[in-house]
């Protein structure tokens, strides 16, 4: 941070723009991730812009690049940049986007963008889209539909585990994954598991009740 008494120089990425200071998280991550994806031969085709010399899989990629993501059991082609997060790929870049996972903090603090990646929950805002190539992605839409909800989704409706609903997909995704592994959790285990999910309306008691009801229903 510059001292308030002097006028700091105006430059790209400087705090004077009021945006993220210095190196952004995406900017920092993009080099490494792209190199890794390219090395594993996971990119569908070489990056279109600044294309790497043919036959050199280790060369860095940049610019819009077409990849295939396996989402909710389907292969979906999508054009992303190396800096595009998985969350943004789902919400902004897919044709017919999946907007169940929400953008709330974009910093891995709130859980609203929770998706299941190879059977484990991750924050979609903190995974690069290119790092999800070749992996199995499940979003809240892949867990059930309004007509055919899963037990957790059903219980959220019955117990009113939501108000504005903006945190709901995150909680539902997290708990659906959790109950697969721990079908009979205690209240304390549910709270511990959901401590990375924020709700501002204050629906927590009904979220906990829904989790317990879903566990009971799955067993019964």
């Amino acid at each position: 941070m510059s001292s308030p008494s002097s006028s700091p120089p105006a430059a790209e990425n400087s705090p004077t723009t009021g945006k993220l200071p210095a190196v952004s998280r995406r900017g920092f991550l993009k080099g490494a991730a792209v190199a890794a994806a390219a090395a594993e031969g996971l990119l569908r085709q070489p990056p279109s812009a600044a294309a790497a010399p043919a036959g050199d899989p280790s060369a860095p990629v940049s610019g819009p690049t077409s990849i295939t993501l396996k989402i909710n059991g389907k292969d979906r082609d999508v054009t992303v940049e190396p800096r595009t997060t998985l969350l943004s790929a789902l919400r902004d870049h897919l044709d017919d986007p999946l907007t169940g996972p929400k953008l709330v903090c974009n910093a891995g603090t709130c859980g609203a963008c929770t998706v299941i990646l190879d059977g484990k929950i991750v924050y979609g805002c903190s995974v690069l889209a290119m790092d999800a190539v070749g992996r199995t992605i499940t979003t809240v839409e892949g867990l059930g539909t309004p007509e055919k909800p899963n037990e957790v989704q059903k219980a959220f409706v019955e117990k009113d585990g939501m108000m504005c609903g903006y945190c709901t997909s995150g909680f539902v995704t997290n708990l659906s994954n959790f109950l697969n592994k721990n079908p009979d959790p205690s209240l304390e285990e549910i709270k511990e598991r959901c401590k990375g999910n924020f709700c501002r309306c204050g629906t927590y008691p009904h979220v906990f009740a829904a989790a317990q009801a879903a566990a009971k229903a799955s067993k019964g």
Binding site: P97, T99, P146, F156, Y166, F198
Partner: protein, 744 residues
């Protein structure tokens, strides 16, 4: 008194300005009999536990919010914002930004030569992708001349402090005349001399944030031409059209304003705001749709906040527990804006009172309405004062309150809350733990009040198809409060249908007129209009179907998805087949008699404090809330829980932290601005006060948020034996207070 037309009458309703109740206004309504709700215990759907109408969509991620809207050829926009609390722009160089691949427009905001808070937008950028827009925003080079600033109330109140607003003089401008000064100060100070006990104390609460999970956002779907659709996360759907019309240069009637769902508002989202202004302007310039979504950081810095307050009391009571005299000077802390803290002695009765309110401005974003504007701050201070007086009187705090409340509703609620929390077990020896443990427990309480009344203007439409389908339409939005649910339930109940037989369509300005959600007025304004429309639809159906039954229209019954009369019955579908092919479309409007004004509540809290670490754990909370006729008990309990949890955040965790030297906010992110999370949630007991016999709808969203922070502050004092007079009550404050007590 203006003369009223025949068939009309004039009534008083609450006036709401930007979400803040601002007295009352007269309106003219039809002087006819309105439909009645019927006995409270005879409802089939209302006043029962209904699942949220939009629940299945929210639980499966298919409910659409403004953030989720993507339309063909849509550009992404973002703001460039000020890094300084107070500065002048010397030059803006957009050349590097314009060279970023995919950039469509880089526009310095006109008339912004000087910024007055960190995060103030100074330029807008649009690009083909969000990534490119963000990169271009970083590349806008601005040369600043920094100017003197002040970002804490303490600094702003010092002599010679820089002016945060023009004409401010020392960071502060005097209280507005009128409502902000009341009573005779000399009389109060005189009366204090005859009191048996007195307390002089200053209570402080800090600027808080709404933290709507969906940040302010707008998608302007306009590609040139003569019409546009504008999606906006706003508490006032109808305001979208007029606001956007101004920016797009189109007639308001050619704009559709949409709020299908919204991720929280809490008072921070009225109109389309600066976000909508720039989404529209860029869209107009580019002749293509534009989406503009604030980042979380921008939301903290520039999307409004709830004001802090510094309140200094001199107050006294007599031995018999009568509150006699209250003298209070309030400093509101609204950044560069203005705001009101509710007057003292808040809801209590005292013979002699004086209240004066001033504003202390700082170089921070302006405060706006935040859930029960000005009330939680006033309540926390007054309820703390009440307990300090009760302590000096050696009187039970509940009994002391019961002696000084002006409405018997609170006596009933204080008794119910005391029972729920187990008040008889309240700590008799504050600050003393048993068995050498460092853990101590305490209990506290508080009361609150709110208007929540209905106002005219809402018009609902019920459409019945020849196929038996029923939709109910209104432009009002659902903030997450459960609007959709009761809109559906009212119509289903009136027409004798099942809850899922009716489809509600709301949040679209093309439907009949709605109400902006401020002051907890939505339910009390909209539900009467829906009831009236459903009643009119029923009357119209009866008229059409009665001849087929050979019955008198007034004797036709609607129940069990049937229409019956003269010993015969038709299924709803059979009956609707008699309608013309276009079906029926019937309107209804808000009428007096179905909604009321004046909600009361009482909160109780039990806490456990570790005297070694200063950590506070709320063990249990109970809140008793009235609301006349409860439209949906499950939704009401969710609201009451939410109110308790937000007051818990205010009491223990939340607050904007400013760096006084750099002029910047230290915690504009959820890592650092602590919200209550799963691990902080105590046992919560939401209690609907069924002792309230008023058979009218009264909004209860805001009142549930009011007394909890005072109750928790009082519980902490009862636990540790020392009073913390500044929110949030963090461990450092507790340890400091305990250390000071030891040193005395």
């Amino acid at each position: 008194m203006p003369t009223t037309q025949p068939g009309k009458k004039t009534i008083l309703v609450p006036k709401i300005v930007n979400g803040v109740p601002s007295g009352e206004e007269e309106i003219v309504v039809d002087d006819t009999d309105a439909p009645a709700w019927g006995p409270k215990d005879k409802h089939r759907l209302l006043n029962t536990y209904l699942p949220r109408a939009d629940g299945p969509h929210k639980a499966t991620g298919t409910a659409k919010y403004t953030h989720d809207i993507k339309v063909p050829n849509m550009a992404y926009a973002c703001f460039v914002t000020s890094p300084h609390a107070h500065a002048r722009i010397k030059s803006v160089d957009t050349s590097a930004a314009e060279k970023v691949a995919g950039v469509l427009a880089v526009v310095p905001l006109p008339n912004v030569e000087e910024v007055r808070f960190e995060g103030q937008p100074v330029a807008a950028v649009a690009a083909k992708t969000l990534e490119a827009a963000e990169e271009a925003a970083h590349a806008v080079a601005i040369e600043w001349e920094q100017l003197p600033f002040v970002v804490t109330a303490q600094d702003a109140m010092k002599a010679g402090a820089p002016a945060a607003v023009n004409g401010g003089g020392g960071g502060r401008f005097g209280g507005r005349a009128g409502g902000n000064r009341g009573g005779n100060p000399e009389q109060v100070l005189d009366a204090l001399k005859s009191c048996d006990v007195t307390v002089d104390a200053t209570y402080t609460s800090v600027i808080m944030h709404h933290c709507c999970l969906e940040t302010h956002s707008v998608v302007c779907d306009y590609s040139g031409g003569d019409s546009a659709t504008v999606y906006c996360s706003t508490q006032g759907c109808n305001s979208i059209t007029t606001d956007a019309a101004r920016e797009l240069g189109l007639p308001a009637s050619k704009i559709a304003g949409i709020v299908y769902n919204m991720g929280g508002g809490f008072g921070s989202k009225f109109g389309i705001g600066i976000v909508g202004q720039w989404a529209c302007r860029l869209s107009k310039q580019l002749k293509q749709p534009v989406k503009l979504v604030l980042t979380r950081r921008e939301e903290f810095l520039a999307a409004g906040n709830g004001p802090g307050a510094i309140q200094t009391f001199q107050a006294g009571a007599t031995k018999d527990g009568t509150l006699v005299a209250v003298h209070c000077i309030q400093q509101a802390l609204p950044g560069i804006g203005r705001s009101n803290i509710a007057a003292q002695p808040y809801q209590y009765r005292a013979q002699h009172t004086y209240r004066e309110q001033n504003t202390v401005n700082t170089n921070e974003d302006s405060s706006v309405a935040m859930r029960a504007p000005g009330h939680p701050q006033a309540c926390f201070a007054m309820e703390s004062l009440m307990d300090e007086l009760a302590d000096k009187l050696q009187m039970d705090p509940v009994e002391f309150r019961k002696k000084n409340v002006p409405d018997p509703a609170w006596i009933r609620q204080l008794d119910a809350g005391a029972k729920a929390i187990g008040w008889q077990n309240r700590n008799k020896t504050p600050g003393k733990s048993a068995n050498g443990s460092s853990l101590v427990r305490g209990m506290g309480c508080g009361i609150g009040a709110w208007g929540g009344g209905g106002r005219g203007g809402c018009v609902a439409t019920v459409n019945i198809g020849q196929d038996g389908s029923v939709t109910v339409q209104n432009a009002s939005q659902d903030l997450g409060t459960g609007t959709r649910t009761y809109v559906r339930a009212i119509v289903a109940e009136e027409l004798g249908l099942d809850y899922n037989d009716v489809l509600e369509e709301i949040g679209d300005s093309r439907f009949t007129n709605g109400v902006a959600s401020g002051g907890s007025t939505t339910a009390a304004s909209l539900s009467p209009a829906v009831k009236d429309a459903a009643y009119n639809a029923r009357t119209e159906m009866a008229k059409r179907v009665a001849p087929h039954l050979g019955a008198d229209p007034s004797a036709v019954l609607f129940a069990d998805r049937q229409i019956a009369g003269n010993g015969k019955a038709l299924s709803w579908k059979q009956a609707c087949a008699f309608l013309p092919s276009g079906g029926l479309s019937v309107r209804g409007e808000w009428k007096p008699g179905l909604s009321g004004n004046g909600a009361h509540g009482a909160s109780f809290a039990e806490v456990e404090v570790d005297m070694e670490t200063g950590h506070v754990r709320v063990v249990k909370m109970a809140h008793v809330q009235d609301g006349g006729l409860i439209l949906n008990r499950m939704g009401a309990e969710s609201q009451i829980n939410g109110g308790m949890i937000q007051s818990l955040g205010m009491a223990l965790y939340e607050g904007r932290v400013m760096d006084a030297n750099l002029g910047v906010m230290v915690n504009p992110a959820f890592n650092d601005y602590k919200l209550p999370g799963c691990l902080e949630i105590p046992e919560l007991i939401p209690i609907i006060d069924d002792g309230d016999e008023r058979n009218v709808v009264i909004g209860l969203a805001e009142p549930a948020n009011i007394p909890g922070s005072g109750a928790i502050a009082n519980a902490v004092a009862n636990a540790i034996g020392v009073r913390i007079r500044e929110l949030p009550i963090t461990p450092d404050k507790i340890l400091n207070a305990l250390a000071q007590q030891k040193n005395v």
